[in-house]
C-alpha cells in the first residue's frame, strides 16, 4: 500500500465513522425522531389542506395539492440537511466532544462530508415517508409520477444543499448561543426565493434574480414536474444544480475553515463558561 492510498483509506474510514456515529445516535433517539416526524406530517397537512379550501375543480385541486406537497417535502428535506450540518458543531459542543473531534487527524472536508452524507440518506428516507403519508391522507393522485427523476434531482441538489449547510454550520462556532438558530434563517431565506409554495414568477423581479442562485429553485421545479406531469430529469434543472454544487462545496469548506480558525484564535471552540 502506498502512502497516498493509506491516506485515502484513512479519510474514508473517518467519513464512515461519522455516518456510523449518526446511525448510533439516530437509533438512541428514535422515539424523539418519531415525534418530530409526526409534527412534520401535521405541519405539512396544514399546508396541503389549503388546496382543499381553494374551491377548485378536482383536477386543479389535485395539481395544487401536489405542488404544495412537493414544496413542503423539500422544505422538510432541506431542514434535515441544515439541521445535521449545523449539529456538526452545536451537538458536539453540547456533548463536550468537539475538541476531540477537531483535534483528530481527519480532514474537515471528510468530516463535513460524512455529516452531509448521513443527512442526505436520512433526509431522503424521511422525505419519502412524509410524501407517502400525506399523499395517502389527502388522496393525491399522481399516476404518471416519475419518482426516479424526482429522487435523482433531489440527490443532485443535495450536493449544493450540503455546501450551503457547510457555510451555516460554522455559525455556532462564531456565536455558540445563537449560531444554530441562524441556520434556520438561512434555510427560510433560501426557500422563500425558491418558489416553495408558489411559482417563482409571482415574486418581484429582484427576488426572481435571487431565485436563479438558489439550488432549491431547480429542485422544486424539477420535482414538481416529475411528480405532477411525469417529466424526466430536465437538463435545464440539472446543469444549474451541478454548477451551484461545484461552487458551494469549496466555498462552504473555505468559510468553515475560516470560522474554525476564528474560533481557535479567540478560544470559542469550547465554552465552559
Amino acid at each position: 500500500m502506498t502512502a497516498a492510498s493509506v491516506a485515502v483509506r484513512r479519510e474514508l474510514v473517518g467519513l464512515a465513522g461519522i455516518v456510523e456515529r449518526n446511525v448510533y445516535l439516530t437509533k438512541r433517539y428514535f422515539l424523539w425522531d418519531l415525534a418530530f416526524m409526526v409534527w412534520t406530517i401535521a405541519n405539512t397537512l396544514t399546508i396541503v389542506f389549503i388546496a382543499r379550501a381553494a374551491g377548485l375543480p378536482p383536477a386543479r385541486e389535485n395539481t395544487l395539492a401536489t405542488g404544495l406537497l412537493v414544496g413542503a417535502v423539500i422544505w422538510a428535506f432541506l431542514g434535515i440537511i441544515f439541521e445535521f450540518m449545523t449539529e456538526t458543531v452545536a451537538w458536539e459542543r453540547w456533548e463536550g466532544t468537539i475538541e476531540y473531534t477537531f483535534m483528530a487527524p481527519l480532514s474537515r472536508s471528510m468530516h463535513l462530508g460524512g455529516m452531509g452524507a448521513f443527512a442526505v440518506l436520512y433526509g431522503l428516507i424521511r422525505a419519502t415517508i412524509l410524501f407517502v403519508v400525506v399523499a395517502a391522507f389527502i388522496g393525491i393522485h399522481a399516476p404518471e409520477a416519475n419518482y426516479a427523476a424526482a429522487l435523482g434531482l433531489l440527490a443532485i441538489a443535495s450536493v449544493s444543499f450540503i455546501g450551503i449547510g457547510m457555510m451555516t454550520s460554522v455559525l455556532p462556532l462564531i456565536s455558540p448561543e445563537k449560531g444554530a438558530q441562524l441556520g434556520f434563517v438561512a434555510q427560510g431565506m433560501m426557500l422563500v426565493v425558491s418558489g416553495v409554495y408558489y411559482p417563482v414568477s409571482v415574486m418581484p423581479e429582484w427576488m426572481q434574480a435571487l431565485a436563479k442562485l438558489s439550488p432549491a429553485t431547480y429542485a422544486i421545479r424539477g420535482c414538481r414536474a416529475a411528480i405532477a406531469d411525469g417529466a424526466g430529469m430536465q437538463w435545464a434543472d440539472v446543469w444549474p444544480l451541478l454548477v451551484i454544487a461545484c461552487a458551494s462545496i469549496p466555498l462552504g469548506l473555505v468559510i468553515f475553515r475560516r470560522g474554525e480558525r476564528y474560533a481557535k484564535k479567540h478560544g470559542k471552540l469550547k465554552r465552559s463558561g
Binding site: 456510523e20 445516535l25 483528530a104
Partner: protein, 288 residues
C-alpha cells in the same frame, strides 16, 4: 498494546534526534469585556506569557498550577485547538500551528471532563474516535475490548450508555480513547480531578503502566502536587500564565530550601496554593 501500535508512524514519520516537545516564548491572549472602559470595550488578558520549555522523548513532565493558571490553554495549544499569539511550539519537530495534520496523528489527550456522546456506549464512543485515526471495524473489533480490559473496565458494561457510568468509569474510557490511537505524545489535563481516591489511584497506576510499557511522552497538567511528584520526572509551575520553573522535584525543593512542593509554590509566588482568586481568574477558568 500489540493491536494498537501501527497506524501513527505509517503516515507521520517520527523525527529522530529532536525533542518530543519544544516550546519557545509561547504566548496566548484572550480578550475580555471591560465594562469599566465602556459597554463594548475589551481588553487583552494574558493566558500564557512567554512560556519556554523542552520535553525529551519518553519523559513525563508535570505542570502544576491553580485553576486559571494557563495549564489547559497550554494543552489546547499543543493539541492544535488554539492558535498562538506569539512564540513557537514544535512536537517531534513539527510546527504545532502549521503542521497540524501531522501533529494530530501523534498526539492525544485526556481532559478533566470525560467528554462523550452520553447516549452511546463506551464501545461505540471508542469506535467513533478510532475511525478518525483510520482504524476500521476489523481493527477496533479486537482493539477496543483489549484496551478496555487494560484500563480495568468491566466487559459486561461495554454496551451500556455512558450516561449510566460513574465518573471514574468514564475517565477510564477517556484514557482508553486516548491510548487506542497509540499516541507518542499524551497530554493529560487534570485526568484525576473529581475522582474518588480509589479511581484516582487506579488511573495513576495505569499512567505508570503506560509509561513503562509504551514508548509515550507524557505532559501532565494538574493541581495535585502529590500526583505530580508520583508520576513525573520533572515538575513545572505555571502561575498566571508564566512558567516559574521546570525541574526535578528534588531540585525544586533544594532551590527554594523547602521540604514540599506546596512550600515551593509559596516561596516562588508569595501566595499559598489554595488561596489564590482574583477577578481575572473567573475569566481565565473559562479558557484556561
Amino acid at each position: 498494546m500489540s493491536t494498537l501500535a501501527a497506524p501513527t508512524a505509517l503516515i507521520t514519520p517520527i523525527r529522530r534526534g529532536v525533542p518530543a516537545v519544544e516550546v519557545e516564548s509561547l504566548r496566548k491572549e484572550f480578550r475580555r469585556r471591560d465594562r469599566r472602559a465602556g459597554r463594548f470595550a475589551k481588553r487583552p488578558m494574558t493566558a500564557l506569557c512567554d512560556v519556554t520549555f523542552t520535553i525529551e522523548r519518553g519523559e513525563c513532565v508535570a505542570i502544576l498550577g491553580q485553576n486559571g493558571s494557563g495549564k489547559s490553554t497550554l494543552v489546547r495549544l499543543l493539541s492544535t485547538l488554539l492558535i498562538n499569539d506569539g512564540g513557537e511550539a514544535r512536537i517531534f519537530g513539527y510546527d504545532a500551528f502549521r503542521d497540524t495534520r501531522a501533529i494530530r496523528r501523534l498526539v492525544n489527550r485526556v481532559s478533566v471532563e470525560a467528554s462523550f456522546f452520553k447516549k452511546m456506549s463506551a464501545a461505540e464512543n471508542l469506535s467513533y474516535a478510532a475511525r478518525f485515526y483510520g482504524m476500521g471495524p476489523s481493527q477496533t473489533r479486537t482493539a477496543i475490548p483489549e484496551i478496555l480490559e487494560r484500563v480495568g473496565f468491566p466487559s459486561d458494561r461495554r454496551g451500556e450508555a455512558m450516561e449510566n457510568l460513574s465518573r471514574g468509569m468514564q475517565q477510564k474510557v477517556a484514557l482508553a480513547r486516548a491510548l487506542l490511537t497509540s499516541p507518542v505524545l499524551l497530554l493529560l489535563d487534570e485526568p484525576t480531578t473529581g475522582l474518588d481516591p480509589r479511581s484516582k489511584l487506579e488511573v495513576q497506576e495505569f499512567i505508570k503502566d503506560v509509561r513503562a510499557e509504551h514508548d509515550a511522552t507524557i505532559l501532565l497538567c494538574t493541581h495535585d502536587m502529590a500526583e505530580a511528584e508520583t508520576l513525573a520526572d520533572r515538575v513545572g509551575l505555571l502561575d498566571r500564565g508564566e512558567l516559574l520553573f521546570l525541574e526535578p522535584v528534588e531540585d525544586v525543593k533544594r532551590r527554594y530550601g523547602v521540604e514540599t512542593l506546596e512550600q515551593a509554590f509559596f516561596a516562588a509566588t508569595g501566595r499559598a496554593f489554595e488561596e489564590e482568586h482574583d477577578e481575572d481568574d473567573d475569566y481565565r477558568e473559562v479558557f484556561g
